[in-house]
Amino acid sequence: MLGIDSFPRSIKQIQLLCLVPAAQKLALMFLLAAVTYGVTGIGAMLLMTLLANTHLGKDGAGKHGISIAESSRLGGVAIGIIVIVYIAGLSLMSPYTSGPERDVTFLYLWSAVLFCCLLGLAEDVKPDFLTPKLRLGAKFAVLGALFWLSPALIPLTVGVPAVDFLLNLPVLGWVLVTVFAVGFINALNMADGANGLVPGIALASFAVFFMEYGRPMDGALMFACSIFFIFNVISGWYFLGDTGSYGLGAILLGYGLLGVADGNFSAGFMAALFCYPCVDFMVSVIRRFRAGRSPFAADNGHLHNRLHQLIRLRVRSSVMANSFTGVIISVSTSGAVLLIYVVGLLPPDSDLWHIAFVVECSIYLASLKYLTSIQPKTQYADVG
């Protein structure tokens, strides 16, 4: 039983707790989750908070991208649990029939997604458990099998005559799409270096897919990514990890290819939506190759690293500098595509989206050139 004296003490304790930055962040995160997704959002936020505080999958300070705080790599696991709970419940209690049950293409796609998640989970729980070559080989095998078993995922036209010709050749088309798919998943993993960057891109993409198709799975993924985005941007205690980046990469890849193959989206639309991870991956590989380094060796020469350094000079909080970097990039690329789609400025199947992609590439290259020129002798400089 609480005595009368203990009430003022409790209020004082609450007041003291409110002055702690971590408690303020938690309060803000839970408030945003409650406003956007109600009681369900509070549940998802609680689950993420609990997983972020487990000892499993902890990254030391400075080990992940531009983060300098200790954080958890189990963001992908949290997203997975939320989506599974939601879809399992909906399948049991409503007339909803999940994709894998009604369509064999979705069955193969989700099997590949599950394998990619497990591949990432092994790495998140025990770093360097699998060698990079083994992981790459496993991804080639799984995605190769996916496209072999589900040729409906291979688009026959992307609006570029030479590429269309190659895609229509049976075996060459399969090889090209498999190589692209492995590259795409690695690109998303490589871009996962700033708070809200990959989650922001994933959130915008699932919002587009949900508005186009209205599938409950897209809605569940959008919900989980929204909560993760709020958590990741405000606290910086969480990363997607390999489970999240491989899993979300495989889902976005499958949905994107299917959308283009069905003719609902143009290849230009998908290129514009996923511009940042793809272009950053290509530019990083070329940059490292020219510097005589391994094209897949990690470094700090990405655009988000350089933008972060610029913002860090102006923002006192390291977490906020990290979050501003990720949010600026995701909002100005995938967020802009989402806005154009919502407003209806361009239909999603228009080939004019190729122009939007070219504009995004130009802005990326101009920004990288400018930031490189003003940061020549820093930890982010390319050393040959």
Partner: protein
Amino acid sequence: MRVILYFVAAIGLIWVGVLESASSSVEDFKRYSDAHVLDHGHGSIQRVLAVGLVGDLVVSKIISDGRDTVIIEGNEEF
């Protein structure tokens, strides 16, 4: 031990949204088959508390798209 309780509580809270989405869609199917009335039904206080402002729009979209499939294909899958 306390952590397990928190996990159960978290899953339970997520389950509130699952129940709300599932019951809304089942009610909608019944209402449609009984009266053929197209009523979006979103914005009720109970649903907004359960799934929030954005979640309310998501649930409404799931229900309306499911209903379209019923109308077009003659089955209850969506």
